[in-house]
């Protein structure tokens, strides 16, 4: 049973971690909690559904429930959601950063979240969608240890994206510049970095990763207009658990939250699953407010 909890928890935790990366990055850079971040996941999931429909009904790959159209649609959805995040910043947050304070930004992000969610609900209605009507085949990995092929592929893809993000941040000039601006924007400017460029890159990356998390959630669960909003609490819990601003922290925080949620189901019952992120978040804030990896306030 422990093995099963780990498989389920790590799979959903990897998606939470992906979404939390963007949240922690925008917080680290702009010092505000973006409550619209979950909607990037929703938009990504629905955009991928449109894309997969447009690219046609190819046969599923192997034991998966989806075919190449969804893989291509995932990439298109990531790119479009990156643009959505950039547009949201240009139209809303950038203006407010110039004049307003952090509270104004947070409230604006609440408004943006509501607008983005309503747009999806208006376009697609409140009922859930699935990328496919095929039943996911369950694989027996070991006695008492089962996972669908979809789950394993999603887990692998999420881990690859996290690894890519880690390599970007530690091995590339863009990643180093992002870390530099996040720590000290003035010193970064003295070193020749244009913070506006880094802010744009961060929105694009955060939006794209959230979109991927949304698509993965759509593959393993379902699509609903509120899917991203409901992801928001686990995302915040993961980001705070890992130390706000820390990307490895967000990834690890996501895994911890995912596993804790999966463990809560047999222990406390499925109805308490949603409360887990909140409890972990609260415990963390009491014990170590800076988070596991957090160095600064």
């Amino acid at each position: 049973m422990i093995g099963q909890i780990l498989i389920d928890g790590i799979t959903s935790g990897a998606m939470i971690g992906l979404g939390a990366i963007g949240l922690t990055l925008t917080y680290g850079l702009l010092r505000f909690a973006n409550f619209a971040h979950g909607e990037f996941a929703t938009w990504g999931a629905y955009l991928a559904m449109l894309g997969a429909g447009a690219f046609g009904g190819a046969a599923p790959i192997g034991a998966l429930t989806f075919g190449w159209p969804l893989v291509v649609a995932l990439m298109v959805a990531m790119a479009l959601t990156a643009l959505l995040a950039l547009a949201l910043d240009a139209a809303l947050f950038r203006r407010l950063r110039r004049h307003g304070n952090a509270i104004v930004l947070v409230i604006a992000s609440f408004g943006a979240s509501l607008a983005l969610r309503s747009a999806i609900e208006f376009a697609f209605g409140p009922e859930p969608y699935y990328y496919t009507t095929d039943i996911a085949m369950t694989l027996r990995l070991a006695p008492g240890l089962r996972a669908t092929a979809d789950q394993l592929v999603v887990l692998a893809a999420a881990l690859v994206l996290m690894l890519a993000m880690h390599v970007l941040l530690t091995r590339t000039p863009l990643g180093r510049a992002m870390r530099a601006v996040s720590e000290n924007p003035d010193l970064a400017r003295l070193a020749g970095i244009d913070p506006a460029r880094i802010v744009r890159a961060t929105w694009a990356i955060g939006g794209a990763l959230a979109a991927a998390a949304g698509v993965f959630l759509g593959v393993t669960v379902q699509l609903r207009p509120s899917m991203g909003f409901e992801l928001l609490l686990p995302l915040f819990a993961a980001a705070i658990l890992g130390g706000v601003g820390s990307v490895p922290g967000a990834m690890l925080g996501g895994l911890v939250i995912g596993i804790a949620e999966a463990a809560a189901v047999p222990l406390a019952g499925a109805q308490y699953r949603a409360a887990v992120a909140f409890v972990v978040l609260l415990a963390m804030l009491l014990v170590r407010p800076r988070g596991l990896f957090g160095g600064r306030e």
């Binding site: 530099a180 720590e183 400017r189």
Partner: protein, 239 residues
């Protein structure tokens, strides 16, 4: 030859509240100009205005004859102006090598490795600590890294805000000796200092700023010997 020139510079944090109130300065290549003055005189504000971090209300800043006023802060290093701020002058979460790589990113790709190598050769302490997080460096090593970071793009003018603050006398002497070495290489050095005596010893010229204006100006040694100046503005340390 004059490289950096300030004329009638007025700068401050809030509109209508000038901190720097009409400063004229000029600085030639190979020269060290020390900027002294009591706490709150506006030395750091002047240096930050030069770097583009504080708005300029009036006056001009020219580097090699070209105005810097319309150049955003992040582009000033490309125009040949390097600045080492007084505090938080390294990226603590990045390694020493990453600090240098961040600053080298504005150079052509082919030049980056050789410039990083040149900095590590100039500051052997950093070479030994290149993989270490910069936040774990000693005070002296931090200042060396901050200077190397500003110097990596070969600026024509290097401005430093109290690079010797908090260092032991031995390390102060070492930092100042490095600055002399840098000036000998042709760089114009603008050095804001509290350690008046040590700084004047390496200075070609010195300016004393009081309440945002130049109160005294002269050769370093002459200022040290003027008992009036020493008592009033150098905190008695040079008396």
């Amino acid at each position: 030859m004059t490289r950096l020139e300030l004329r009638g510079l007025v700068a401050g944090y809030e509109p209508g509240l000038p901190i720097v109130r009409g400063v004229d300065l000029s600085l030639a290549g190979g020269e060290i100009l020390v900027l002294l003055g009591p706490n709150g005189a506006g030395k750091s504000t002047l240096a930050k205005a030069l770097a583009g971090l504080v708005p300029v209300a009036a006056g001009t800043i020219t580097l090699d004859g070209a105005s810097l006023l319309d150049v955003p802060a992040h582009a000033r290093i490309r125009h040949g102006l390097g600045f080492v701020p007084q505090t938080h002058n390294i990226f603590a979460a990045l390694s020493v090598a990453e600090n240098l790589a961040v600053a080298a990113a504005i150079l052509p790709r082919a030049a980056r490795t050789s410039r990083i190598g040149a900095m590590l050769a100039m500051f052997p302490d950093l070479a030994a600590a290149r993989r270490r997080a910069a936040g774990l460096l000693s005070g002296g090593q931090r200042q060396m890294l901050a200077i190397a970071r500003a110097l990596i793009a070969s600026p024509a003018v290097l401005a430093l805000d109290e690079p010797s603050a908090g260092l032991s006398p031995k390390l102060v002497a070492m930092v100042l000796a490095k600055l002399r070495e840098i000036a000998v290489g042709g760089v114009a050095v603008l050095l804001v200092e509290q350690n008046a005596r040590a700084a004047l010893a390496v200075a070609d010229r010195a300016v004393i700023l009081v309440e945002g204006r130049v109160a005294h100006e002269g050769a370093g040694a002459a200022l040290l010997d003027d008992p009036h100046v020493a008592a009033l503005y150098l905190g008695g340390r040079a008396a």
